[in-house]
């Protein structure tokens, strides 16, 4: 069924459309309180989900669904990490969803990363060729269980792509491991600049 079609000329436009989405919900609601389980996350992911350790992902503004699914994968062994695996195993489904909701509601801080313009251009071309936006959405804002990666720390992006390529991370149903398989180190470097620069 899937449509993996990509027209490079339309990419920038699509990105601008997505990025122009309203930032407030249609119906006013009180944001959720910070779940107590989130306190333990602060050290690595930042007190409001904006990570200060470059290798760790910022969770602020991430889709709630991705956070929930990754916690579930850590808990059920599809993804492993010496820190995240034990933390996830003590969380209930509702607690995972609560964490996802809370981080999704946090404001993503603007990335201060100074991207190399040549690498940004080269990264955009790689992205077009391997059809990144078809799953991650125009502007890399994520959809459904596919994560937002726009504006992530470049070190984190590089590490994930390298982990997929080396199959150190394999909870992707074969999608990202396959995409990363043919990426060179330069491709990964360029993609990290391009995507990190998408604030």
């Amino acid at each position: 069924m899937i449509l993996r079609l990509f027209l490079p000329a339309a990419a920038a436009l699509a990105a601008s459309l997505v990025l122009s989405l309203p930032s407030a919900p249609a119906v006013a609601q009180t944001p959720p309180a910070k779940p107590p389980q989130a306190e333990i996350c602060d050290a690595c992911h930042g007190p409001n989900g904006n990570a200060v350790i470059p290798e760790n992902p910022s969770l602020a503004g991430q889709t709630w669904r991705y956070i929930y699914i990754e916690l579930k994968d850590f808990s059920e062994g599809r993804r492993t990490d010496p820190v995240m695996t034990p933390i996830s195993k003590v969380l209930s489904r509702d607690e995972m969803i609560a964490l996802g909701n809370w981080y999704a509601a946090q404001k993503r801080a603007t990335n201060q990363f100074k991207a190399d313009s040549a690498k940004v251009d080269a990264g955009r071309k790689v992205s077009d060729a391997v059809l990144c936006p078809m799953c991650h959405g125009g502007g890399f804002v994520g959809q459904n269980e596919v994560p937002r990666v726009a504006g992530q720390n470049p070190e984190y992006i590089r590490k994930q792509l390298q982990d997929f390529k080396a199959k150190r991370r394999t909870n992707d149903a074969g999608n990202m491991t396959s995409v990363a398989h043919t990426l060179s180190d330069d491709d990964i470097e360029n993609l990290s600049h391009y995507v990190a620069n998408l604030n």
Binding site: L5, A26, R78, Q143, G174
Partner: protein, 572 residues
């Protein structure tokens, strides 16, 4: 506002962040708002009207024109001689700036159209004034591979029926937009969702499911139009027998390079994967009332590219299937590609028409336009393949198997003919198909079932530097020969309308909506809608005036420029 489950409610809210594009403050989820004039008509569609819709030049009451799905409008006020004078009558702007794939339906001067995220509008089909606007209240989980699209409603009596991206079926009061009932079709957390327009017949609403990229078990279900209760289910993946006949060749006789011995050995170890084998049914079925038969096509197996985990023919994926209308029981199937590892699923909706068989006798047929680039013509009662057409787009290196580093093969995974409905002009003996050409490499990666996540088992990649384009093609039903073809600068997705005015209407991603001479493909008229025209056009008559309507909302899948409008044209 009380809230028993704040966490889940906020999940809904989080989702709405991405779907509240341009929605006015007065909109309320799950209800209708009257923002224009009151509807004076009381749309009511009888079974007799539904049965005769293909011959009805006044209305357009099926998404594809009739149960036969020919998309052939029998009126000729707008014709090849005067289409050059066609002008916009009005433009209706929806509140949703996102991909539009809707086929509007029109009855009693009222048009019903849908947008992404399951909004429905009722508008005056002559002036564009809005009667009401319904916005579906989405549940917390939506799982769609290819955009939050909707392809239209079905109507019976005074009720409209719509499938939703959170895998529900809803019934609305056509006059007011009020929600009458809703029923959960399947679990969206497992990858089920709805984008197709349902079919409705004799009090049954027929609908399939998306999910071939998520490891669903495909189906067609029939629900009671009165209350939403389930009447029958036909699974497009049988619990036993899905291994089929271990067919080494495709429908055209080409070797598919299967390692049948290895597949049989794997199947002997584990044949329990029917629950995750895919086979989504995601376009509207055709219905033959005379033989009480429903015809649909089933999509690709899951995972798309990694076939080793699902040995066998993977029935009834990539097949045309006929089932009994009353009981939902199997009649016949015909599989185009056994054990598909290229995502070349069968999706463009079947069409019931007539064609010459091999002896030259005119017989009832059902046809399908494939992602392979062939149009397949089957005997309607048996499914037997009478012929397949010339390839409408380039084919190359078929059927090379996907590799870790990528194997190049044409067509790419989108076809050929994607979901775009074809049209048929029986008098001209022509079927019209919107094709696309997109060179790709196919990559495979081992992957167990990931629990409801996107499950491709590899990747599709376009090939930098290779041109992508579209082609509108006319094929003779009786010979399978391509009669004419018009190349377009961008891939075609959306669908075709043919009319008795010897016209063919088709849209393009660059905003052009064009009319062609049905006999030779000569371009006769065009209008630029300012956003991608990636939806099938419809035609109708109010008073003594014929109109042609088409949505221009762009397209998520081909990243065509987004819009939010339906354009309606008429002669001055």
């Amino acid at each position: 506002m009380s809230c028993k489950k704040p966490t889940m409610r906020y999940a809904v809210l989080a989702l709405s962040l991405s779907i509240s594009v341009g929605v006015g403050a007065q909109e309320v989820s799950g209800s209708a708002t009257t923002t224009g004039k009151a509807m004076t008509a009381s749309p009511a569609v009888s079974q007799a009207m539904l049965d005769a819709a293909t011959q009805d030049a006044k209305s357009w009451i099926h998404p594809n024109g009739g149960y036969e799905q020919t998309r052939y409008y029998p009126g000729a006020q707008i014709n090849a001689g005067n289409v050059g004078k066609l002008k916009p009558a009005f433009v209706f702007q929806t509140a949703v700036l996102e991909s539009m794939e809707t086929a509007p339906i029109v009855i009693d001067g009222v048009m019903f159209l849908t947008t992404s995220f399951n909004h429905v509008y009722a508008i005056d089909a002559v002036t564009g004034e809005e009667f009401w606007h319904y916005k579906h209240k989405l549940g917390p989980i939506v799982t769609v591979c290819c955009g939050n699209n909707n392809r239209g409603v079905a109507i019976e009596g005074g009720k409209l029926f719509m499938g939703t991206i959170d895998a529900k079926l809803v019934a609305l009061d056509a006059k007011t937009g009020k929600l009458l009932w809703e029923t959960q079709i399947a679990d969206p957390e497992k990858g089920y969702s709805e984008t197709m327009a349902p079919a409705v017949v004799e009090g049954k609403v027929l609908i399939g499911t998306n999910g071939g990229e998520y490891g669903v078990r495909g189906f067609v279900k029939a629900f009671n139009a009165a209350d939403g209760k389930l009447l029958w289910t036909f699974y497009s993946i049988p619990e036993t027998g899905h291994e089929g006949v271990w067919d080494p060749k495709d429908a055209t006789g080409r070797d598919m390079h299967r390692d049948i011995a290895a597949e049989k050995a794997a199947f002997a170890k584990d044949s329990s994967f029917f629950q995750t084998l895919g086979g989504g049914v995601w376009m509207t079925p055709a219905i033959d009332k005379k033989t009480r038969t429903v015809f649909f096509v089933a999509g690709n197996p899951s995972p798309d590219l990694y076939g080793a985990i699902r040995p066998g023919d993977n029935l009834y994926t990539n097949s045309m299937v006929a089932v009994d209308l009353d009981k939902g029981t199997y009649k016949w199937h015909f599989q185009y590609i056994a054990h598909d590892v290229w995502d070349l699923d069968a999706v463009s909706p079947p069409i019931l028409t007539q064609a010459k068989d091999k002896s030259g006798k005119m017989v009832d047929v059902v046809i399908h336009g494939g992602k392979t680039g062939h149009i397949y013509v089957h005997e309607r009662n048996t499914g037997k393949l009478i012929r397949f057409s010339d390839a409408m787009i380039p084919q190359e290196n078929m059927w090379v198997l996907p590799t870790k580093t990528g194997a190049r093969m044409l067509p790419g995974a989108n076809g050929g003919v994607e979901w775009s409905p074809m049209a048929v002009n029986a008098k001209a003996r022509l079927a019209y198909a919107a094709n696309l050409h997109q060179p790709m490499t196919y990559h495979v990666e081992e992957s167990p079932y990931p629990g409801g996540k996107l499950w491709l088992g590899g990747a599709f990649k376009t090939i930098p530097g290779e041109e992508q384009w579209g082609r509108l093609v006319a094929v003779n039903l009786d010979t399978g020969k391509v009669v004419w073809g018009v190349k377009t600068p961008q891939p075609l997705i959306g669908g075709v309308l043919a009319t008795a005015g010897n016209l063919v209407f088709n849209g393009e991603a660059n905003g052009w909506f064009k009319a062609f001479d049905a006999m030779n493909g000569k371009e006769l008229w065009k209008y630029n809608c300012g956003a991608g025209v990636n939806a099938p056009a419809v035609s109708y008559m109010v008073g003594n005036k014929q109109y042609v309507a088409v949505a221009a909302g762009g397209n998520n899948q081909i990243d065509a420029k987004r819009g939010n409008s339906v354009f309606v044209f008429a002669l001055p």
